[in-house]
Point group: C2
Chain length 422, copies 2
């Protein structure tokens, strides 16, 4: 199909909205109606987003997540026969449409995707603005990266998950986080007056994005300029530890505590603990606020291959080349998941049976998969029982994952079955 | 000495103004009086500049200049005996003060410096905010990079230096550049109404910086937003080809023509032609305007080592590992220099006997040195007859090179003599 309907609006599909074909940001200068400027505030709108998520650093300030000076690991390349086999894989979407895998890429607005089976590439595709060397927005997969490092610091005793936030950040005593523990943050069980609604620019989510420097501030905007200034103003609503309520600001508080305790900025922590250890091919980067503070809830950008390398580390219980980079107990804890009943109460219709732990989504499905999920279609899917890792970047017109899950979820199950020969 | 006087103002020297010691941008968050924000417009002021030039990408949008996936070249490391020998090198500054080399670093506000002799490191130091892995602002050495690529494209016949600018950029027909040739651009002999005065924020230079996205725009600023919009408005003043008048906007026009002809953005050209060929250790980056156009006159950032690698390529006549990356004729042309009489008329008191060719400064001194020079102390000094390359980054309180030349120039001559054993 060449158009797709979401929220009663028809959008051209992934092929029809290719930003190169449409001429977005092509030419010096690009045509007036094909320009994307940060200050216009429309770079996350459709179809501009199809270009922007592969070019974030050209739109806003960023800090490098250094890969160090070592050689990149060899993931192999996909054999043509394997590519063809996967392209032809058939499955039905949750809303009953019959798909070939190849067609599902266009309908999920995929920018780039890689599949590892037993650690080797069996499938890899790039579409539109994304190239193998270009980092792409991870959005909330950033949380999974940051929380994996946080959980490691807890294993090492540098942080304690039972401590209340002000133990590490005294200035948060009067905020919503005054009596929230790090565990509450990690499992998104904080009672804080803050809405995570993406579709309406007047919500608190976008005030957070403006404070983080991810969205432009209007002239005269007197709201908080900087993440820390934003976070200290958040007020309590409800009870901590009771219900799952997904709020990106919780990750920011967690990252702030990590940075305070270690004395290292988040990009440096990510580099030391992960990027420089994983055989990454390219430096990653992360958006920063006006004071250089990284946006730990959503700001990371990585290449498809480097995202897959992180997934492969988790699939291999935190070890790589006989070195334990992340404690196996940390990976076990994530993979085991959290409280299914609590996530059920949050009412995600498509995530029945899922749980949430340490900022990972745990499917409890037939492949024991767990995943990082980011708005507009970002996904890092780790399926231990299929020995499979899938890293996918996308620029879907709709932010919420529920817009692509009806295709993505059965596609990933079908692929896991194919690779394991069932 | 711990303070230095310039323009009747006393500044703490390089050691006393170390941004780490002073606490600039240290802590999460940094103390209120130690914060550096792009929007404040003071990041190029002193002492903020001492931190900012090593952290530009955290302040403004940038494009990557990719090093590709190859291994970094081995430059070696400086032997302690050699380091000590150079630190103790004595010379007199042009204003008659006696120096050890080591002390000259503090008095030139050096952030990082490397010396190659016959292609191997004999000296390397990092001070303050700069680290070996961190790219630092090159300022106008950016011009030397860009023009070397432009001259190569001319050698290949892709561009012709005798053509007028509108041959490549028809929209420039009505501007100052309507009858200027690319040769006029390359040798800074354009008659254009534009001032290159750095010390006064009301000058056209800062309007150019704002258009390029390198400095903040005040709310309601109705000036050009973007380099191309700025350049088409420039008007003629005087005659082309007659006099040397140094104006960064000429480089921007040259880069625009290169990009139009090749269809490649400047960062991609720099990556393809230089960064990915030179065994660079880190990706470089370059600041971009609100439309993603790189600032070819001043926006590049590189590590000290990667800057030195570029210098070594020029010292070796454009060849590296038996591959001719830049035609020898292009390097010969640069090294041969331009019209000494024309530069003399421009009245640079310290540059007697110098000439300017293809956006390089040619000393015609005893080591036949030529150099890239950037404001606030950036220097890439290539001395073929001493088989020496010096790459230095600094964050001097005064923009103009004349503030550090009285130390830098005799220091480099003395070092060349030391290394060649004279």
């Amino acid at each position: 199909m060449s158009t797709l309907r979401f929220d009663d609006i028809y959008f051209p599909d992934g092929i029809a909205s290719d930003p190169g074909t449409l001429g977005w940001m092509q030419g010096s200068p690009p045509p007036v109606d094909r320009r994307i400027r940060f200050q216009d505030g429309r770079f996350l709108g459709f179809p501009q987003i199809r270009w922007a998520l592969s070019h974030l650093r050209e739109l806003l300030p960023t800090a490098s997540v250094s890969r160090g000076s070592g050689a990149a690991s060899d993931l192999g390349t996909a054999a043509d026969t394997r590519l063809a086999e996967i392209d032809q894989l058939r499955f039905d979407s949750l809303d009953g449409r019959s798909y070939h895998w190849a067609q599902s890429l266009a309908d999920t607005y995929t920018d780039g995707i890689i599949v590892l089976h037993r650690g080797r590439v069996v499938y890899e595709r790039y579409v539109g603005a994304l190239k193998p060397q270009l980092p792409h927005a991870c959005f909330s997969i950033t949380k999974s990266y940051a929380a994996t490092v946080a959980a490691t610091l807890m294993y090492e005793g540098v942080l304690e998950d039972s401590r209340a936030v002000p133990y590490y950040l005294p200035e948060m005593a009067g905020s919503a986080y005054g009596d929230a523990t790090l565990r509450d943050l990690l499992d998104m069980q904080v009672g804080v007056a803050h809405s995570e609604v993406y579709s309406d620019p007047s919500t608190q989510f976008w005030a957070y994005a403006r404070a983080a420097g991810f969205c432009p501030r209007a002239p005269g905007d007197s709201g908080p300029d900087g993440l820390h200034e934003f976070l200290v103003r958040l007020r309590k609503e409800g009870t901590h530890g009771q219900a799952f309520t997904y709020k990106s600001v919780n990750t920011e508080v967690l990252c702030w505590a990590m940075q305070r305790v270690t004395g290292l900025p988040l990009p440096e922590l990510l580099s030391q603990r992960l990027w420089s250890q994983l055989g990454c091919e390219e430096d990653g980067y992360i958006s920063v606020d006006s004071l250089g503070v990284a946006m730990g809830g959503a700001g990371l950008a990585a290449t498809v291959r480097d995202l897959a390398r992180f997934g492969e580390l988790l699939r291999c219980d935190g070890a790589r080349e006989r070195r334990q980079l992340i404690p196996a107990a940390v990976v076990d804890d994530i993979r085991g998941g959290g409280d299914v009943a609590k996530l059920a109460k949050a009412g995600y219709a498509l995530l029945t049976g899922y749980s949430y732990r340490n900022m990972w989504w745990v499917t409890h499905n037939e492949h024991a998969a767990f995943e990082g999920r980011g708005i507009h279609g970002q996904r890092l899917y780790i399926a231990p029982l299929a020995q499979m890792v899938v890293a996918r970047f996308a620029s879907h017109p709709i932010a919420r994952s529920a817009a692509n899950d009806p295709i993505t979820m059965p596609a990933l199950i079908a692929l896991g079955r194919l690779l394991e020969g069932r």
